[in-house]
Symmetry: C2
């Protein structure tokens, strides 16, 4: 067994034992420790900021780019916001124990399908230290032990956060091993985690397309794929122009770096002449670069750069937008079926039939009709928390929160019933 | 691209197109074609039996064993039973279009989580030709296109069945490519199917432990793991003896070859002296060989053969039963957590507390309290059909039927709402 496999084996076994304990905890016990964790994080602000400063300094020296530095950097305000998130999770209902279905067989045997924790959840993520706390508390609330494999760029921050959470868990009679960090200096620990079948019940990657692709194609542990959003806004011929302008702008510029941000605008041929110059003006004012196909360029001229083939498949996560003109709703749907990532697709239309066909034919976790793509979000959907946005079809699709971190078991109760021959 | 990859690529693309069509079909259309398929199967009995005879003859020549020959063999009665199953699926509610959740956001945007088909389902299975029909009609009813990769030992039977189903689909205006067989003479098609990410949405293996292990450790397409059942019956110190005898016997001998059959009997030390000789007598009469640990052998003597370490991990699927004596409920739970496959675990007890602890601590798809393990079955649970019994925690756990062959999408409808900055 390699060092990394050995490490994961040890962490995984401890996590399994912790999970067996967690599965029996009541909501009251779990909420108490979560509230204590929120307080502990705020109380340890200085300790966290000192650790974070080391990461930021290392990042600056390594020249990782301003956007990465921004994601990495913690402040007292951000720590307070993270603590508030933890309190929010404490306030959410406990999914464990929920009876999903229940009925009595003709022979009197009672069947109940009951939500139970998954067991051990592995989370593999990149530079944002807040994911450490998010992942830990969502798993704890749902009765799961967690293995947190963050990025080496945030190693000091993550270590400090995990230490505070573990300390608080132990102080409240919870197993500290419910929350464990996986060493990030050794890249091989990712691979070991992805092959820990039997010890780890599910792996959730949170990060960019490269990370997610690596995880889904290499894991033998079941994976929930999250987050890559090559999101389209389609402006139909019947669209209200003002509405289409507002939705396109909001979908693109509200927060370009998140997965629900629009990356491609498709405009129906009949309205392109009127709509494109107006949206170009608005977006240019917001600093957006348009990457336009030939038909759009014929209208926009030098307001846009020529789109390449790659543009249609690119999740920019920046102030860039691919723009294309389509001849029909079917052409828009065809384009999206070919290039979309199954995250969020939006149509702006006043036609009921267009809305119906678009929503039945694009194949995505969320379909927006006359609403901004920015609404694909666990918080907006009222889940109170979000572990990520699933773009796969198995288990969970769309924003995932506490129930998505559970599985179910059938509890079957009788008085000695046996089954006949047929 | 290898030949096998090329084959799967072509089949997969046709399946995707068929799936886009199927997703729009109403329940009425789907039920009509299913009923026609049932009739067509019965009408083609001679054709199917002739094809099946070729497989059986090849199997006999190849000396594949009586149990395999039995699974492979079709008769007019078995074909009639398969057709009845198809009619049963037609009678089931259509899961597609079900609104799982629905609510309105504070800003007036309406959110609905709606069941939609997965898309393309791959089923990889062994010698039973009835799985061909089962898999095809369950997928069709749930709006999915299916790629059926059966065993080469049943190649002629499967080809005949697929041909009848495709012909009937086409006659009723459905895409024939909704149901496609994958060539079984080339083993490489399995591997190609397991790596068809983007074309195949989920792979479901149905068969023995070897097949399932191969699929789950090699697939980059999401897998639903089914069927391996190392099933335990635990007889608690407080068990009603008659009930324990009946449940143990029924769990073992009713149908030893299916995954819900018991493979290990654990008996509490306090009742072993009385219980073991009685159950041994009953099971011996049914032809069962007991593989007993030392403590059990001290009671049973030569009525049992010594158990080896492997016995505790073996899914016999035959008239064999491992037998062990445990000192406590905790020891039974510990044994099951170590050796169980997460399928079905049973306790016979009159203690409420023992029932509660057992059901919360063994980690299985189904937990039986005072009922036979044979009840873990889609038909018994009232699902009307079964695609397999999932022993994994993601997506589906326990018997799977139509809803488990669907995913969901969020349909979000507004009147131009955009999202604020925070």
């Amino acid at each position: 067994m390699s060092d990394a496999n050995q490490t994961i084996d040890e962490l995984g076994r401890r996590a399994r034992d912790a999970a067996a304990d967690l599965a029996l905890r009541s909501r009251g016990e779990k909420d108490a420790v979560l509230l204590a964790m929120a307080d502990a994080l705020v109380a340890a602000t200085d300790e966290i900021l000192a650790a974070n400063a080391q990461d930021v300094e290392r990042g600056r020296a390594g020249d990782i780019g301003d956007a990465m530095i921004d994601r990495l950097t913690l402040t007292a305000e951000r720590i307070a916001a993270i603590a508030d998130q933890v309190r929010g999770v404490a306030a959410l209902p406990d999914p464990v124990g929920e009876v999903v279905r229940g009925y009595t067989m003709p022979n009197g045997v009672r069947v109940q399908q009951i939500r139970v924790p998954m067991g051990v959840v592995g989370i593999i993520y990149e530079g944002r230290p807040n994911v450490t706390v998010d992942g830990a508390v969502l798993c704890l609330k749902s009765g799961n032990a967690v293995l947190l494999r963050g990025s080496s760029s945030a190693a000091s921050s993550n270590a400090a956060l995990v230490e505070i959470l573990r300390r608080t868990a132990a102080e409240h009679g919870f197993p500290a091993d419910a929350i464990q960090g996986v060493p990030s200096e050794d890249r091989a620990t990712v691979s070991a985690l992805l092959h820990a079948r039997g010890l780890v019940d599910v792996v959730i990657p949170r990060g960019g397309a490269g990370l997610i692709q690596h995880v889904v194609t290499n894991s033998t542990v079941p994976v929930i794929e999250t987050g890559v959003g090559n999101v389209h806004v389609y402006v139909d011929s019947s669209a209200d122009e003002e509405m289409a302008l507002a939705i396109t702008e909001n979908s693109k510029v509200r927060r370009p770096s998140v997965c629900n941000a629009a990356e491609t605008l498709l405009v129906h041929h009949d309205v392109a002449e009127s709509f494109l110059p107006k949206i170009a003006q608005r977006l240019r004012a917001a600093g957006v670069t348009l990457h336009a196909d030939e038909q759009s360029r014929a209208i926009l001229g030098d307001d846009a750069v020529p789109a390449t083939d790659e543009d249609w498949d690119t999740e920019y996560l920046s102030l860039d937008l691919a723009v294309g003109v389509v001849d029909s709703l079917d052409a828009a749907v065809g384009h999206i079926r070919e290039h979309g990532s199954g995250h969020t697709e939006a149509i702006v239309t006043s036609s009921l039939e267009a809305a119906r066909r678009f929503s039945m034919q694009v194949d995505a976790a969320a379909v927006m009709v006359n609403a901004s793509t920015a609404f694909t979000d666990g918080g907006e959907f009222g889940f109170g928390a979000e572990i990520g946005i699933s773009t796969q079809k198995l288990h969970a699709r769309g924003p995932m929160a506490l129930p998505e971190l559970t599985t179910t078991t059938y509890l079957v109760q009788g008085e000695g019933q046996i089954r006949g021959a047929s």
